[in-house]
């Protein structure tokens, strides 16, 4: 066989072999556009709470890691198509997502809150400081009613395919005029421009934007948890199927749970969370 043929065959072979399946490197997908959870610095390097935590967890697992970038709206499909092995992208553990993928135990708590520009009539909304949708009860119902009234006729902006969108679409606060964006950056831009009357996301996403841009973004209403908001943020991993690949996914879930336990016990999660959020969001 001449060299030419050999080259062609090896190139073709390399196209069809999914290196991912055979290599021992753990590929972790993140968005890189949800500061301070995960974002990029000026040079394009991935930074943030989850990027730093991912390296820490990998050290505990004892394997090589690689962090890859993936648009948020294609995150779960990309995981299923084996573009990477795990998701660490501020993704909350929800029942809806659990139908499709597995999650490790939660490593951090995402606190969601509404945000408006200073001077909005939504400021000073009379609600408790926090509501848990899983607990429910009279106080939660009353707060949801107040929010429903406040949001009526307003354009509410969220990032697409998030727990925040799910909550607004759930009917808990009536029928809301929701506008969805590909990234949180775009939500922030349109909130500041006045196209959005109010936005919903992780509270830290708004405070981070307000701090960096100097725009008068203020948080209003209660902090949300439970129900559509899920149970903390965890590592998303494919459901283990049959065969060697399935076993690898199942092992990965165990590895991540073990690593999170160790990182929590050693105070790594608290330390990294405090560094990026300014408070301890670990769980």
């Amino acid at each position: 066989m001449n060299i030419f043929k050999k080259t062609i065959i090896s190139v073709l072979a390399s196209l069809f072999i999914m290196t991912n399946v055979y290599s021992d490197t753990i590929k972790i997908g993140t968005e890189g556009a949800y500061p301070p959870w995960n974002s990029k610095d000026a040079s394009g390097k991935l930074i943030g709470f989850e990027v730093e935590l991912a390296w820490t967890l990998c050290r505990y697992i004892g394997k090589q890691c690689e962090i890859v970038e993936q648009d948020w709206d294609g995150m779960i499909p990309a995981l299923l198509m084996r573009k990477f092995d795990a998701i660490m992208a501020g993704m909350s553990i929800t029942d809806e997502r659990l139908k499709t993928i597995n999650f490790s135990q939660g490593y951090a708590d995402e606190v969601a809150q509404l945000a408006v520009m200073k001077g909005s009539d939504l400021e000073g909304m009379d609600t408790p400081s926090g509501i848990n949708l899983s607990i429910g009860g009279g106080a939660v119902k009353k707060a949801l009613k107040t929010i429903e009234g406040a949001l009526a006729g307003k354009t509410v902006c969220v990032q697409t395919a998030t727990i925040h969108q799910n909550f607004l679409d759930s009917g808990d606060v009536g029928s809301v005029n929701v506008r969805t964006y590909k990234t949180q950056d775009e939500v922030n831009l349109d909130l500041a421009a006045g196209r959005c009357d109010v936005a919903l996301a992780a509270a830290v996403a708004f405070t981070d934007y307000a701090e960096k841009s100097g725009k008068p973004v203020v948080l209003v209403g209660p902090t949300f948890s439970g129900g559509a908001f899920g149970n903390g943020v965890g590592v998303g991993i494919r459901k283990g199927g049959s065969g060697a690949i399935g076993e690898r996914d199942a092992q990965l879930l165990k590895d991540f749970n073990m690593a999170i336990n160790k990182a929590r016990k050693n105070g790594d999660i608290s330390r990294i969370a405090t560094k990026w959020f300014g408070f301890d969001a670990s769980m």
């Binding site: 709206d73 809806e96 697409t160 506008r179 349109d190 421009a193 006045g194």
Partner: protein, 223 residues
């Protein structure tokens, strides 16, 4: 392959197709006027008009449609005095931002298509008109324009199809067009292949209709 999802998403996607068609028809309507205006300017002997039209078509054909939409939507939204002017009534709405971007873009291409169509008209036709004592205005409306329209049909048909596909970018500025709704369904089902196959088929079917309509016109106005 999740056949049930494909069947269930079909009516939702068909509803969204209405938005796509509205975007397309309004953009083409305004784009045709812009195109005709700039084509005439390009043929003008007035150097300023001519260069302005040339610069316009150069600018809009030389930059990606996505960039144009982003500049009009996110870019203008950042500028304080635009937000405080009457322009904001229109620019505040993603719908009109998309139509402005599409119309300006297709207008640039249409002006080139029409200009080249005008230039292919044989001098003899115009001279024949002149020798019969017909005024140049009537020659323009009754001889040049009909011939130019016929000449530009194949290229303009292409432009319509390109524009149809271009409207999918409206989803990047929050509009729920065919692509926007497809992405929304994917975001809750995590099954991109099934949904995009249905959405793609709808685009393909629309292209099929446009293509055959243009072919029909070409045959009808063949001479």
């Amino acid at each position: 392959m999740d056949l049930e999802l494909m069947i269930n998403s079909f009516p939702k996607l068909l509803n969204a197709t209405v938005v796509t068609l509205k975007l397309l028809s309004l953009s083409l309507f305004f784009g045709l006027f812009i195109g005709l205006l700039f084509a005439v300017m390009r043929m003008s002997t007035n150097l300023i008009l001519n260069k302005f039209a040339y610069g316009y078509s150069y600018l809009f054909r030389g930059t990606p449609l996505l960039v144009q939409i982003f500049i009009i939507y996110f870019g203008f939204g950042q500028i304080e005095f635009i937000r405080e002017s009457f322009l904001w009534i229109i620019l505040k709405e993603p719908y009109w931002c998309a139509i402005i971007a599409f119309a300006l873009n297709t207008g640039a291409y249409t002006s080139e298509i029409l200009r080249s169509a005008f230039e292919t008209i044989k001098k003899g036709y115009i001279e024949a008109g002149k020798s019969l004592g017909i005024s140049s205005k009537i020659i323009f409306y009754k001889i040049q324009i009909p011939i130019a329209i016929r000449q530009s049909l194949p290229a303009y048909g292409n432009e319509i199809i390109l524009m149809l596909k271009g409207t999918s970018l409206a989803s990047t500025v929050t509009l729920m067009d065919l692509t926007g709704v497809a992405k929304y369904i994917i975001s809750t089902t995590f099954k991109p292949i099934e949904v995009f196959i249905v959405a793609g088929s709808i685009y393909l079917f629309m292209t099929f209709l446009i293509h055959n309509f243009i072919k029909f016109l070409e045959r009808k106005y063949n001479y």
